[in-house]
């Protein structure tokens, strides 16, 4: 046994209202730089829908993830080592910027600088790739709320296995949101695809990161990831991906997407797993068995043998305690309501989902029946094959049994708790019908419905004695970075060359550049930069507001 700790997330899809707050705050925190305009480490897809990038789930096209070869061994679907190196000069399976969308901005200056005139001035969309005028035809969530799905809804890859006849009825009745981040897989195919060995899984918490100093821009990871959650920064020529907000996790804070989620649908916690079993589990022959196989890889943090082995493996005691209190462990194992996204990719993803019951509830309510009644819900789960089969395509490689089981548990909880809320005696038969006790149902209700901040996020901070090696703790002299090479935009070898800069400082600068720039791409000029950290609060800091003379933005402010 080789126990390892993995930081993991579960999202409760019933609660997602599709507000995109997670996407926006993530973008503000991580990908507001030029070169990453089209990049959304976190995106929210309306399902059914094509997703982002378009049809990323079609692995016959993109060849992401793992597959079993003829001898039954696990192999990269996109080809092994030799094949990767032979295709290194032109990656045959790389999505183009058009498969995501062409990022754009507007030339706002035509609005702000417009003279008094008869006609209302118009800000035209400008491509952030070419700088030219462009016609906006797609974006990261163009088909939000099934928008335009009459035209392209049938392009959802998952519908292929559901057959043609159900399609339209289905689209009229059933919709939910799917927020996606990097899965931080136990068996990541992006890591395996990287020729440079720049992508790695952190042995402490399992977070998958790209070493920006080692990445050489071969782009194999973009093709290798079946979730298409590795992005190519077209300005720096390096791969970037969701970091699970490691600087926050290291100090015990939840990720930005989780922290800002208005539905409070995200749970973060540790899972212990046996690294020796990962390969065997990922090589499970039948796709339908992969969900159970992955559950078999996890270790029970309450098992004394596991605790002993974990301590021997160097996992700190407080991390083991956190694993015992982990909401992820409870949702995946105790209550068994969380399911992995696309286990058939064989990457052993670690961001799991509680499938939504709401489509079923909505249909019952629309037909005029009691949508809170357990028997009605159970019957509907039986009868409404289409939503269940669709969810099964997403979460269990098409096996409807686990999805039905989860939905029945959610339905039972809903009905059971209604009786209690209404002051009636609890119906223990409802709990028993899904193989739970009333007490377990109430525990699950507490975790799903009213869990407070510290119950949803059980994140043990990284250890103080390791503080010096944590990226984001300033135990270095802060002047090491100030005015260092690379701080002023472009280095001599193209944008982003020069020494690495601390994440937050760079973000602030880039964000300000982009927001105050008149040109389509970020300006490289240092004029007009304001360091608010040096501002003592008196008067206006020089350069905060644009001067009347655009050519001299640095001149001191004129008294009003």
């Amino acid at each position: 046994m080789r126990p390892m700790a993995q930081m993991a997330m579960v999202m409760n899809l019933d609660k997602c209202i599709g507000c995109h707050t997670c996407s926006v705050t993530c973008k503000q925190a991580w990908t507001n730089r030029s070169g990453t305009e089209y990049v959304w480490f976190n995106n929210v897809e309306t399902r059914p829908g094509q997703g982002y990038p378009r049809q990323y789930e079609d692995q016959e096209k993109w060849k992401g993830g793992w597959t079993l070869n003829k001898r039954g061994n696990l192999a990269l679907k996109g080809g092994g080592r030799v094949s990767k190196l032979l295709h290194i000069f032109s990656n045959p399976k790389l999505p183009s910027i058009q498969d995501y969308y062409e990022p754009w901005t507007y030339n706002y200056s035509t609005l702000t600088d417009a003279p008094a005139q008869q006609h209302i001035p118009v800000a035209r969309p400008k491509s952030l790739i070419t700088g030219n005028d462009m016609k906006i035809t797609w974006s990261a969530n163009w088909d939000d709320d099934l928008g335009g799905s009459i035209d392209h809804g049938h392009k959802d890859v998952m519908l292929k296995n559901l057959g043609d006849k159900v399609k339209f009825e289905f689209e009229q009745t059933f919709m939910f949101y799917l927020p996606r981040i990097c899965e931080h897989c136990l068996n990541p195919s992006c890591v395996a695809s990287c020729p440079s060995g720049a992508i790695y899984k952190r042995s402490e918490d399992g977070i998958v990161l790209v070493d920006q100093d080692r990445c050489r821009g071969w782009r194999m990871c973009v093709s290798g990831c079946p979730y298409k959650k590795i992005y190519f920064n077209h300005k720096t020529g390096k791969a970037e991906k969701c970091t699970f907000c490691f600087p926050r996790i290291e100090v015990g804070q939840p990720t930005v997407c989780a922290e800002t989620c208005v539905g409070r649908l995200r749970y973060i916690g540790l899972m212990l797993y046996d690294a020796d079993k990962v390969l065997e589990a990922a090589s499970t022959e039948d796709d339908h068995d992969l969900y159970e196989a992955q559950r078999g890889v996890f270790l029970d943090p309450l098992d004394p043998h596991v605790i002993r082995e974990s301590e021997r493996a160097g996992i700190p005691r407080d991390w083991i305690l956190a694993a015992q209190q982990s909401p992820i462990w409870a949702l995946i194992n105790t209550f068994r309501v969380a399911l992995p996204l696309h286990p058939e990719y064989r990457t052993m993803p670690m961001v799991w989902y509680i499938p939504p019951l709401s489509p079923v509830v909505d249909i019952i309510r629309d037909t005029g029946h009691d949508a809170e009644d357990g028997r009605n819900l159970f019957a509907a789960i039986e009868a409404l094959r289409i939503p269940v089969e669709y969810l099964a395509e997403l979460f269990t490689a098409g096996d409807t049994a686990p999805v039905e089981s989860v939905l029945r548990r959610l339905a039972a909880m809903r009905s059971y708790m209604r009786e209690i809320t209404m002051g009636r005696p609890a119906d223990e038969s409802l709990a028993a019908a899904v193989g739970m006790t009333g007490e377990q149902v109430q525990d699950m209700y507490r975790l799903l419905a009213i869990a407070k901040y510290d119950e949803r996020y059980v994140i043990p901070p990284a250890h103080a004695e390791q503080a010096h090696s944590l990226e984001e703790l300033a135990t270095e002299c802060s002047r090491d970075f100030d005015r260092g090479p690379g701080m002023g935009g472009s280095g001599p070898f193209g944008e982003g060359s020069g020494a690495p800069t601390p994440i937050t400082v760079e973000n602030f600068q880039m964000l300000r550049d982009r927001q105050t720039s008149d040109t389509a791409s970020a300006t490289t000029s240092t004029h007009g930069r304001v360091n608010l950290l040096n501002w003592d609060g008196h008067g206006k800091p020089a350069g905060l507001f644009p001067g009347s003379d655009v050519s001299q933005p640095d001149q001191p402010d004129q008294p009003d």
Partner: protein, 242 residues
């Protein structure tokens, strides 16, 4: 008797350029690991790249192999293992022509792409343009030499240029051999050394990142927070408690 100009061109310039090459790479690797990348433009444009890039890269790899053969291996060695002058010549010309033509065709496609595809051209730095000019000069001069020396002339570079080139690394200097070489070879050599001097400051550094280690490393890479690049050794007294 060698003149000062000959010494300058065929001794001083090579050593200066090679020094810049070596020290430049060390400096770049030390200070600009983040900028050390292929700077691929494939996300912008794929149709032309899919054709041009493999043509160019595989071509230039064969060209490189040819140069290692022709410049690196003394004539006496190949003759010792029984490769006759005729056989060597036939191999060099046949493989060399195919490789050279595919390199030039590939490079032409890539340069055409870089100039005409809007996003790719926008992403081109001044250094890229300089590098393209020098690289194209070297390659075209090399191809011209191959054609001329095989069709019209009878210059055997293995008795001239190669001996001079090997001498640079063995500190056995023969500027007179280079001075006696045809003008085409002289220009090719000078352009090549200019390219070497430019090399560390361009995207050509990606040549030294050829990921051959991928063939032998395990698929999944685990790394501890402790040994990350960018985190320096703790100061004395601040080391981690074991």
């Amino acid at each position: 008797m060698t003149t000062g100009a000959e010494v300058l061109l065929w001794v001083v310039v090579p050593y200066v350029c090679l020094t810049v090459f070596v020290v430049g790479h060390l400096w770049r690797y030390r200070y600009d690991k983040f900028g050390w990348t292929t700077r691929s433009s494939q996300v912008y444009e794929n149709r032309l790249l899919r054709l041009g890039s493999p043509l160019f890269h595989f071509g230039i790899l064969f060209v490189l192999a040819g140069h290692v053969m022709g410049l690196g291996i003394p004539k006496s060695w190949t003759e010792f293992v029984g490769i006759s002058e005729g056989l060597y010549h036939f191999m060099a010309v046949s493989v060399g022509t195919v490789a050279g033509v595919s390199t030039v065709v590939g490079m032409s496609i890539l340069i055409y792409r870089r100039r005409t595809v809007g996003p790719v051209f926008t992403a081109t730095t001044k250094m890229d343009k300089t590098m393209y000019a020098v690289l194209a000069t070297v390659i075209v001069l090399g191809l011209v030499n191959t054609v001329i020396s095989n069709v019209f002339g009878h210059y055997d570079y293995r008795d001239g240029v190669s001996v001079w080139f090997r001498g640079i690394f063995r500190f056995s200097l023969h500027p007179e051999l280079m001075a006696a070489a045809p003008i085409g070879f002289q220009l090719h050599a000078l352009a090549a050394f200019a390219l070497f001097a430019l090399w560390p400051f361009t995207r050509l550094v990606h040549v030294f990142s050829a990921p051959l280690g991928y063939l032998t490393r395990p698929y999944i890479v685990y790394r501890s927070r402790d040994d990350q690049l960018g985190s320096r050794k703790p100061r004395r007294g601040w080391e981690k408690v074991k």
